[in-house]
């Protein structure tokens, strides 16, 4: 894949209500494949001792690209969590920028290597993730949406979280607040059925996180998170609702976590061999590849070309970023406060 192709895939279809064209489906597929290769590369860099930690998005790619495709990055807000690797690429983050976060390089655009990868704030789109504490982003998303409502903006706030985060009190508080004020926010749960090692059956007494929405007075929908078209349609409906001032939507995308929780985890300690094996047919790259071929939108040789282009792109980015410097101690005192109104003390 060329950088040009990557950029074109980062210009989502902003016409609300429109179905995904065949061309856009292929673009989304390219973004997913690029994400997969970079994700795999990051794990290799971890095993080489260069990336201290990584949480993989493998298995979540379709849900993430399809959700963002239904939004408008020129004005919408995205509060991500640590598994939003593909979302970041879909929102225009270059491979070099992704790798700078993982390798803790000075030019890391999100936090200048103060934070774990995927944490901080994006310099070009309104995408941010302040902390590693699960579910804190949900009340913050309600606040972002509240500000838009008071300003009369029609921007939408999308906040991402996992099934584990659904147990936190902040999740309840955020949905309750958003429901009261009918805020333009989409609560997007990527349910991979595991919070590190704890299965959904020990996380909640219900089958579907989306079913909780009724308790907050707004719709909750469950979609197959490996189905780009289904996720796109569900998000489109939520975006239209939000822009029309009708309030929040809870979307639960059922996905697979193809890899352990992070590079520090071993999921064979708590998942059965059958459970791990069954995920293969729900690999969203395979699912979308098959769909594109069924619809004659992609040939086998084109598919191979997409994969090899992504691999080349990843190689170039790795070579570039590997040679870059880490931030030195001289910047560690920057940006604690603005240094005027607060006296500038540490």
């Amino acid at each position: 894949m060329s950088a040009t192709a990557n950029r074109s895939s980062n210009t989502p279809n902003q016409n609300s209500g429109e179905q995904l064209s065949g061309e856009r489906l292929v673009d989304l597929y390219k973004t997913m494949v690029l994400s997969r290769y970079l994700d795999e590369r990051v794990w290799l860099l971890n095993r080489q001792g260069k990336a201290a930690i990584a949480a993989s998005a493998q298995g979540h790619e379709a849900a993430q690209v399809a959700c963002i495709e239904a939004t408008d990055p020129s004005k919408d807000h995205y509060l991500i969590y640590y598994r939003q690797f593909t979302a970041m690429i879909a929102l225009g983050t270059e491979p070099e920028e992704m790798l700078r976060g993982f390798l803790a390089k000075e030019a890391d655009p999100m936090s200048a290597a103060r934070q774990f990868p995927l944490h901080g704030a994006h310099p070009r789109v309104d995408l941010f993730n302040f902390s590693n504490v699960i579910a804190t982003q949900l009340p913050q998303a309600a606040g972002v949406a509240l500000a838009d409502k008071l300003k009369g903006s029609d921007a939408v706030t999308v906040v991402y979280f996992g099934d584990g985060a659904s147990s936190q009190g902040d999740t309840h508080e955020a949905m309750n607040f958003a429901g009261v004020h009918k805020l333009p926010v989409i609560f997007f749960c990527e349910n991979n059925r595991y919070a590190i090692s704890v299965p959904q059956s020990k996380q909640m007494g219900i089958e579907s996180v989306a079913s909780r929405a009724v308790g907050y007075g707004f719709p909750g929908v469950q979609v197959d998170g490996t189905d780009v078209v289904a996720v796109h349609e569900a998000t489109q409906a939520a975006v239209e609702r939000a822009r029309a001032g009708e309030g929040p939507t809870l979307i639960e995308a059922s996905v697979e976590r193809l890899l352990p929780h992070t590079t520090d985890d071993d999921h064979t300690r708590y998942r059965s061999a059958e459970d791990i094996a069954q995920m293969d047919e729900r690999d969203p790259i395979k699912v979308l590849s098959a769909l594109l071929k069924r619809r004659d939108l992609l040939t086998e040789s084109e598919d191979e070309e997409i994969h090899s282009a992504a691999k080349k792109r990843g190689n170039v980015a790795t070579d570039t970023v590997d040679a870059e410097p880490y931030p030195g101690v001289e910047t560690m005192f920057d940006h604690i406060t603005d240094g005027s109104g607060n006296g500038g003390a540490l």
Binding site: F130, I336, N342, L346
Partner: protein
């Protein structure tokens, strides 16, 4: 100059700031029609409407989390936590999140937000309406913590907090709300965050204090003057960042330091002030750095006798002054 109580100054300042800047919103429990349980926002919903004066659900974490989100998206929220004792559910959003918005994004995002918190005891508030909570916040880089004790300082520091580009915790001692009156100019002014003030100049020793204890210290200083002891009283006003220069200057000049606080002393503001004086004024001291605070028990018993035994008082402060002055 009109005289106001502390609570009147707080209300007038919020009103003036909200008139000045329509990005300021107020949110908290009962802040709307009720006007807040202490009436800090009395009447504000009538002037500014439900969009800008928001009665929130009873959930402190989301009050502060929503404030963060609104702040990073262009508003200047003032969140009210009804009682400091109820603040613990919001610690995660404040200590964990708000403090690091700027640092963790390398300056891309900021959270210009104010959290107003009635705190402190001596009001028969028992264990859960009396607490002093300053230490957790004052320990946290990225937060500022102010504790105005007079109507004049309440106005100036609250205005500074609201106009700050970073999160500021404003601690308002609930016993001072109606007890303390003072002149407050009508005109706009601010007091810089991080600046202490000598509220009473003296030569024999300095009391370092803040909040309600400032007033008890001033009373004790007056009593001591009848005994020929000339006491300086320094009001810290800001607890993070502490005004280290003002602390060191006064301690060096009088040579004796008495730190008075209502919070329990172990690992507290008085610990830090003592450390600053120890590090910077060692050779100027004529006596031990002395701390006066309550006993190390959970603050504070509901029983009137036990509450009085817990709280520092002008008489207890006078005793400490006398002992230190005689050394």
């Amino acid at each position: 100059m009109p005289e106001q109580t502390v609570i009147e100054a707080v209300r007038a300042t919020m009103q003036a700031e909200m008139r000045r800047d329509d990005s300021i919103i107020l949110l908290g429990e009962d802040v709307g029609s009720r006007g807040g349980v202490f009436l800090a926002s009395d009447g504000l919903i009538d002037e500014f409407g439900e969009d800008r004066v928001i009665d929130t659900p009873l959930a402190e974490s989301s009050i502060c989390g929503v404030a963060i989100g609104a702040a990073v998206n262009g508003l200047r929220p003032i969140a009210e936590i009804q009682f400091a004792d109820f603040m613990w559910p919001a610690i995660n959003q404040l200590v964990g999140e708000a403090s690091k918005v700027r640092y963790g994004t390398n300056g891309v995002k900021t959270a210009p937000m104010t959290v107003r918190v009635p705190y402190g005891g001596g009001v028969r508030g028992g264990l859960y309406h009396s607490q002093s909570i300053e230490v957790l916040f004052a320990h946290t880089p990225g937060l500022s913590v102010v504790a105005p004790a007079t109507p004049y300082d309440a106005k100036g520091l609250l205005a500074s907090a609201i106009r700050s580009e970073d999160p500021v915790i404003v601690l308002e001692h609930k016993r001072t709300y109606r007890l303390v009156k003072g002149d407050v100019p009508d005109e706009d002014y601010t007091i810089p965050i991080g600046k202490a003030e000598i509220k009473r100049p003296g030569t024999d020793l300095t009391i370092f204090t803040y909040g309600l204890m400032l007033h008890y210290a001033l009373q004790a200083a007056e009593m001591a003057s009848a005994n020929g002891i000339d006491v300086e009283v320094l009001d810290l006003r800001t607890l993070r960042p502490l005004d280290e220069d003002a602390i060191a200057e006064s301690a060096s000049r009088t040579g004796k330091a008495l730190i008075v606080q209502e919070d329990t002393p172990a690992v507290s503001i008085s610990s830090e002030v003592a450390a600053i004086i120890g590090e910077r004024c060692f050779f100027d001291l004529d006596g031990p750095i002395t701390r006066l605070g309550p006993p190390e028990i959970p603050p504070m018993p509901f029983s009137p006798i036990q509450e009085a035994a817990f709280m520092p008082s002008p008489e207890k402060i006078l005793a400490a002054i006398t002992k230190l002055a005689e050394l």
